[in-house]
C-alpha cells in the first residue's frame, strides 16, 4: 500500500502548536475578555482539535469521503446543540397563555 507518509517535521510542528495552544488557553483563562471568556476558550480548543484531526489523524491527506465523514459528526453535534438549546433560550420569549404579538 502506498499511503501518504507524513514527514516527521510536520508531526513535531503540530505537537509544538498543540503545546502552545494549551499554554495559551491557560493564560487566556486568567484574562478577562468579558462576555468572550468562554468563546476564546472554545475557539482555542476547536483550533487544537482541528490540528489533531487534520494532521495526526491524516484527514488532510485522505480522500473526500473521509472529509465528509469527519465533518458529519461535528455537523450533527451542532444540530443536537442548536435545536435543543433553542428551547431553553426562548422559553420566556412567548410565555404560555400570553396573547401572540401581532
Amino acid at each position: 500500500m502506498n499511503h501518504h507518509i507524513v514527514p516527521l517535521k510536520i508531526y513535531f510542528a503540530i505537537f509544538a502548536a498543540l503545546m502552545a495552544g494549551t499554554a495559551l488557553t491557560v493564560w487566556a483563562a486568567f484574562q478577562d475578555f468579558g462576555e468572550f471568556n468562554t468563546l476564546v476558550a472554545v475557539v482555542i480548543a476547536v483550533v487544537k482539535a482541528a490540528l489533531v484531526v487534520l494532521f495526526f489523524m491524516h484527514v488532510k491527506y485522505s480522500d473526500k469521503l473521509i472529509w465528509v465523514f469527519a465533518s458529519a459528526g461535528f455537523i450533527w453535534l451542532i444540530i443536537l446543540f442548536a435545536f435543543t438549546l433553542m428551547d431553553p433560550m426562548t422559553r420566556d420569549w412567548l410565555p404560555v397563555g400570553a396573547p401572540l404579538p401581532m
Partner: protein, 537 residues
C-alpha cells in the same frame, strides 16, 4: 469433494452443526439468526398486547391491576420498538439481501456483524429478565423524574438492556455504511443501486448518528438511578425536559430507522411485480436520504406540551411538515410506476397495497399531530397511539412481511402456499384497520393513552378494537405456520421465482456460501425491464 457437489452445496446445508451457526460470520446465516430472535420478541410483545386488549374490552379495570397494566404496555413498547421494529427489516432482510444486492461476498465486517447479534441477544436477555422479575412501569419512553426517582420497578436493568441493544444497532449501521461504500461490485454505481440499498444506506446514517445519543441518555438515566446524583433531577436544578430532548433526538429518527427500510422493500416489490423501472428512480433514492436528514430536525413535536418554549414548538411544528414532502414523493412515484402497468397480484404485492393504504393514513394523521394547535387537543390520546401504529406497525410490518414473502424462496430455497399468503395479507390488513381505526375516534373523543379503565360510553369502540386485534393476531400467526410448513413440504424454489432484476435473483436459491460463483460485473441500472416491452398498454 467441493467440486463434485458444487451444484447442491449452499449456505444452509454446508454445515449442520449448532456451532457452525453460533460462530457463523456469513451474513445470510446471521440474517436468519436475527429472524428467529425478532420473531420471538414479536411474540412476546404480541402477548402483552393481547393481554391489555383483553383488559380494555371492558370499561372497568377488572382483569389486571393498574400496576400490571402499566407494566404490560411498557414492556409491549420496549420489546416491540427496540427488539422488533428497529432490527426487523435492516437486521433480518438487510443482512440477508444487502451483500447479494450489491454483488458482494459479505458485509464489510462479518465478525462485527456476528458481534452485533450477540450484543442484541444480551440486551434482549436483560430486558426479558426485567420482564420476568417484576417488570417495568415507566412506559417505553423512560421519562424522568418518574423513571429516575419515583418508579419502584427495575429501571436500572432495563436502561442497561436498552443501552446494550443500542450498540447492536450502531454496529449494524456502521457495517452497512461501509459495505455500501466499499463493497459494491464493479459497475454497481450509486445510481444503479436497488432502492432497498439506498433505503438501508439512509437507515444506517440514522443508526450511526442518532443511536449514540440514546445510549448516553439511558446511560445517564442508569447512573442517576443507581447513584442518586443529579443529572435530570429538578430538585437539584436539573431539567427533565433535557431528558426528553435527548431521548427524542434519537427516538423520532428511530421511526425512520423502522420505516425507511420498509419503504426500500416496497420499492423492490413494486418494480418486480409491475415489471418496470421505478418511476423517478433518482427522486425515490434522494427522498430516502432527505427523510433521514430532515428527520433529525423535528423531534420537538413530542414536547409540545412539556415546558418547551412556544417558539421552539412553532419551529419544530413547521419542520415536521417538511417530512411529508419526501414521503409523498415516494408514494406518488410508486403509484406512478403502477399506473397502466400489468401488475401481477402475487402475495408480496398484496402487502405492498396494504403498506400504501396504512402508510397513507399514518402519514396524513402525522401531519395533523405535527400541527401545534391540534396536538394540544390530541396529545397523549389514542389518536396518537393509532397514528404511530399505522406508521410503525401498519407501515413497517407490511413492508417486513412483504419482503419476507418476497425473499423467502431465496432465503430457504422453498416456495410457500400462495393461497394462504393471500389470506394472511388480507387478514392483517382488515384486522389492523379494525384494531386501530376505532382508536382514532376514541382519541379524538379524548380517551387518554395508558389508562386501564375508561367511561362506559367508549366500550363499543374498544371492543371493536380488541376484536380487530384478534383478527390481526390470527393474520400474524398464519404465516408462521405456512412458512414453517414450506421448509419441509414447499416446492423447491427456482433461482428467480418472481422475475426480479436484482443480483440476488441471478444466483441459486438458496445461495452458495460465498454468494457469487463468478465475479460480478454490473452493466445496467436496477430494474432494467426494458422500456416499451411491458405494460404500456
Amino acid at each position: 469433494m467441493k467440486e463434485e457437489s458444487a451444484a447442491t452445496v449452499n449456505y444452509l446445508n454446508c454445515d449442520y452443526s449448532i456451532r457452525s451457526w453460533l460462530l457463523t460470520v456469513d451474513h445470510k446465516r446471521i440474517g436468519i439468526m436475527y429472524l428467529l430472535a425478532v420473531t420471538v420478541f414479536f411474540l412476546i410483545g404480541g402477548i402483552m398486547a393481547t393481554l391489555f386488549r383483553f383488559e380494555l374490552s371492558t370499561a372497568a379495570g377488572d382483569l389486571v391491576t393498574a400496576e400490571t397494566y402499566n407494566k404490560l404496555f411498557t414492556l409491549h413498547g420496549v420489546v416491540m420498538v427496540f427488539f422488533f421494529l428497529i432490527p426487523s427489516v435492516p437486521a433480518v432482510l438487510g443482512n440477508f439481501v444487502l451483500p447479494l444486492a450489491i454483488g458482494a461476498k459479505d458485509v464489510a465486517f462479518p465478525k462485527l456483524n456476528l458481534l452485533s447479534w450477540y450484543v442484541f441477544m444480551i440486551g434482549g436477555g436483560i430486558t426479558l429478565f426485567v420482564a420476568l422479575t417484576g417488570g417495568l412501569d415507566t412506559g417505553w419512553t423512560f421519562y424522568t423524574p418518574y423513571s429516575s426517582t419515583y418508579a419502584t420497578t427495575d429501571v436500572l436493568s432495563a436502561a442497561i438492556g436498552v443501552f446494550i441493544t443500542g450498540f447492536s444497532s450502531i454496529l449494524t449501521g456502521l457495517n452497512f455504511l461501509v459495505t455500501i461504500h466499499k463493497m459494491r461490485a464493479p459497475g454497481m454505481t450509486w445510481m444503479r443501486m436497488p432502492l432497498f440499498v439506498w433505503a438501508l444506506y439512509a437507515t444506517s446514517l440514522i443508526m450511526v448518528l442518532a443511536t449514540p445519543v440514546l445510549a448516553i441518555t439511558v446511560a445517564l438515566l442508569a447512573v442517576e438511578r443507581a447513584t442518586g446524583i443529579g443529572i435530570f433531577d429538578p430538585a437539584l436544578g436539573g431539567d427533565p425536559v433535557l431528558f426528553q430532548h435527548m431521548f427524542w433526538f434519537y427516538s423520532h429518527p428511530a421511526v425512520y430507522i423502522m420505516i425507511l427500510p420498509s419503504m426500500g422493500v416496497i420499492s423492490e416489490l413494486v418494480a418486480t411485480f409491475c415489471r418496470r423501472r421505478i418511476f423517478g428512480y433518482s427522486f425515490v433514492a434522494a427522498s430516502s436520504i432527505a427523510i433521514a436528514v430532515i428527520g433529525f430536525f423535528v423531534w420537538g413535536h413530542h414536547l409540545f406540551l412539556s415546558t418547551q418554549s412556544v417558539y421552539a414548538g412553532m419551529v419544530f411544528s413547521f419542520l415536521s411538515f417538511l417530512v411529508a414532502v419526501p414521503s409523498a414523493v415516494k408514494t406518488f412515484n410508486w403509484t406512478a410506476t403502477m399506473y397502466k402497468s400489468s401488475v401481477s397480484w402475487q402475495s408480496p404485492m398484496l402487502y405492498v397495497m396494504g403498506f400504501m393504504g396504512l402508510f397513507l393514513v399514518g402519514g396524513l394523521t402525522g401531519v395533523v399531530l405535527a400541527t401545534l394547535g391540534l396536538d394540544v387537543h390530541m396529545h397523549d390520546t389514542y389518536f396518537v397511539v393509532a397514528h404511530f401504529h399505522y406508521i410503525m406497525v401498519g407501515g413497517v410490518l407490511m413492508g417486513y412481511l412483504g419482503g419476507l414473502h418476497y425473499w423467502w424462496p431465496k432465503i430457504t430455497g422453498r416456495m410457500y402456499s400462495e393461497a394462504w399468503a393471500k389470506v394472511s395479507a388480507l387478514l392483517v390488513f382488515v384486522g389492523f384497520n379494525l384494531t386501530f381505526m376505532p382508536q382514532f375516534i376514541l382519541g379524538y373523543l379524548g380517551m387518554p393513552r395508558r389508562y386501564y379503565a375508561y367511561p362506559p360510553e367508549w366500550q363499543t369502540l374498544n371492543v371493536l378494537s380488541s376484536a380487530g386485534a384478534s383478527v390481526l393476531g390470527v393474520g400474524y400467526l398464519i404465516p408462521v405456520i405456512y412458512l414453517l410448513w414450506s421448509l419441509r413440504h414447499g416446492k423447491p424454489a427456482p433461482a428467480n421465482p418472481w422475475g426480479g432484476k436484482g443480483l440476488e435473483w441471478t444466483i441459486a436459491s438458496p445461495p452458495t456460501p460465498h454468494n457469487f460463483e463468478k465475479p460480478v460485473i454490473v452493466t445496467e441500472g436496477a430494474y432494467a425491464y426494458g422500456e416499451g416491452g411491458h405494460g404500456h398498454g
